[in-house]
């Protein structure tokens, strides 16, 4: 029951974020800063991949930003 409540809350949060997002944003000509590499969701490139592999082999949690794991027998 508790798990269902948590799942329901997550879905509600995501839906409300989606609806609330309709009033946010910028025009295409206002994206100069957002187009920079260090502002991209995957802008950290190989740093994240190397760090994720290190944390995957040393900690019990992984993933979240993208699919976890790492195809490694180290954990």
């Amino acid at each position: 029951m508790r798990r269902k409540c948590i799942l329901l809350c997550e879905v509600l949060v995501l839906c409300s974020l989606t609806v609330g997002c309709s009033s946010l944003g910028v025009k295409p000509w206002q994206r100069e800063l957002l187009s920079r590499q260090d502002m991209q969701p995957d802008g950290n490139g190989l740093d994240d991949a190397i760090d994720d592999h290190m944390y995957f082999s040393k900690e019990a949690s992984s993933g979240g930003r993208s699919f976890g794991g790492g195809g490694c027998g180290c954990n």
């Binding site: 991949a49 040393k58 019990a60």
Partner: protein, 438 residues
């Protein structure tokens, strides 16, 4: 009378010279064509490469070259290839507790404790580690994103990983859609992973007595994942991302090389058993990331909460800051990451001889309650105008240094003879990474 050269001989020489000239021109032309082709091929790709050196204090060290190539396709799609090689060596904890007396173990390849060449002895007071740990891993992946419409994209991909004792293959697919003038993106992805384990010396029977060497052949495990994401442009310098993920693994999730000490009331080891983990695990996480940018700086804050059916809860916070110089061709990027996790329900640093009723148990410190801190600093310099005609827009050299420290919470009070020993040693590691982007 001096005879002139034979006209036919001159003609032959002229023909030969012309042929030589033409053939050398053709060779040069062909060479130029190949060079041009390679140049054009590379020109279409954005390449990132890095060489990472990782070293733990007294344990594992690893060298990891990584390369990634991304190409934007003419139809609006994108192709990403990546390749990784890992070379690991050093000493790996085997799960047993330190003791005041020497402890002798057998390497995983041994069939009994009688084969002396497979044995290693741990000095009193030291954490038991297998000193002969060595492994190499080759991994690669491909991702292809293709537009389905002006606002919708489909991505498919796969990756593989190969080690001496472990093979893994993963397939993933996802769809993402833009809303709100491309300020909002919603994505849904699924993945399926299949792993094949062939532990050195065989896969031990979980929970079996270490001295009996009950080992079988290979084992398998599978995983499925679901990731729901929302990316939102908040303002002209603020990007926000929320991900919900759910994944489930099943099969042989036990670490085939990890032991648990059996300790009597006086604190002396009376034996060891192989660990045993549940054969399924479901994890859920919420991930939130915000990026804010200014003309000469940017900041990224990532937060994650994760929980699983093994009773582990974890919190992660990571902050990255980047400062550019006035010319925007050099930057410094300090970072800090904080992580903590609770212990798995079945984490046991040791068990008592009469603990036969406990089905699942593991002394693996990665399943213990601990917190960890990572401090990092990265320096990057754009080489666009520094390499003559070779440099281009994304050409960059960078170097990164990280320090990682893991502090394990003390477990239950140690009986008699174990008192005074460091049963939960912390882990310290450094990572040095050199990168070149082109």
């Amino acid at each position: 009378m001096q005879l002139g050269p034979d006209p036919s001989s001159v003609r032959r020489r002229l023909i030969a010279a012309s042929c030589a000239l033409l053939s050398s021109s053709a060779a040069r032309g062909e060479q130029g064509s190949v060079t041009d082709k390679i140049g054009r091929m590379v020109e279409d790709w954005k390449i990132q490469s890095a060489l990472a050196y990782y070293r733990e204090d007294g344990r594992i060290q690893a060298i990891e070259p990584v390369i990634s190539a991304v190409r934007d396709l003419s139809d609006g799609g994108r192709l990403t290839l990546n390749f990784t090689f890992d070379s690991l060596s050093g000493s790996s904890p085997n799960g047993a507790l330190p003791n005041h007396n020497p402890q002798t173990f057998a390497s995983p390849s041994a069939r009994s404790l009688a084969a002396a060449r497979h044995l290693y002895t741990v000095a009193p007071g030291r954490l038991p580690v297998d000193p002969n740990y060595s492994d190499a891993r080759v991994a690669g992946g491909v991702d292809w994103t293709l537009p389905l419409s002006r606002l919708t994209r489909l991505s498919v991909g796969g990756k593989f990983s190969y080690e001496d004792d472990f093979y893994s293959a993963t397939a993933n697919a996802g769809v993402e859609h833009d809303f709100n003038d491309k300020n909002t993106t919603v994505s849904l992805s699924v993945s399926s992973e299949n792993d094949f384990l062939q532990p050195i010396g065989g896969a031990p029977t979980p929970r079996s007595d270490y001295a009996l060497f009950e080992k079988g052949g290979h084992e398998t495990k599978r995983g499925q994942g679901l990731l729901l994401g929302l990316t939102q442009v908040m303002t002209r310098n603020w990007l926000s991302e929320v991900n919900l993920s759910l994944d489930r693994f099943s099969g042989y999730l036990t670490d085939p090389y990890k032991l648990v000490s059996v300790i009597d009331g006086a604190g002396d080891p009376v034996g060891y058993v192989y660990e045993n983990r549940p054969d399924s695990r479901t994890r859920r996480s919420v991930y939130l990331e915000n990026r804010v940018g200014w003309t000469r700086a940017s900041a990224g804050l990532a937060l994650r909460y994760m929980t699983d059916t093994w009773g582990i809860h974890s919190d992660t916070a990571q902050l990255r800051l980047r400062w550019w110089n006035a010319g925007r061709d050099q930057y410094f990027e300090p970072s800090v990451r904080w992580y903590r996790q609770s212990a798995a329900d079945f984490y046991r640093p040791w068990i008592a001889p009469n603990a036969a009723q406990e089905t699942y148990l593991s002394a693996d410190s990665r399943l213990a309650a601990f917190h960890a801190l990572t401090y990092g600093l990265k320096y990057g310099i754009k080489l666009t105008d520094r390499l003559g005609g070779f440099g281009r827009g994304g050409t960059e050299f960078n170097v990164r240094l990280e320090y990682y420290q893991q502090t394990i919470q003390n477990g239950p009070a140690a009986p008699g003879a174990l008192q005074g020993l460091d049963l939960y040693p912390s882990l310290k590691a450094v990572l040095l990474q050199i990168g070149f982007d082109y």
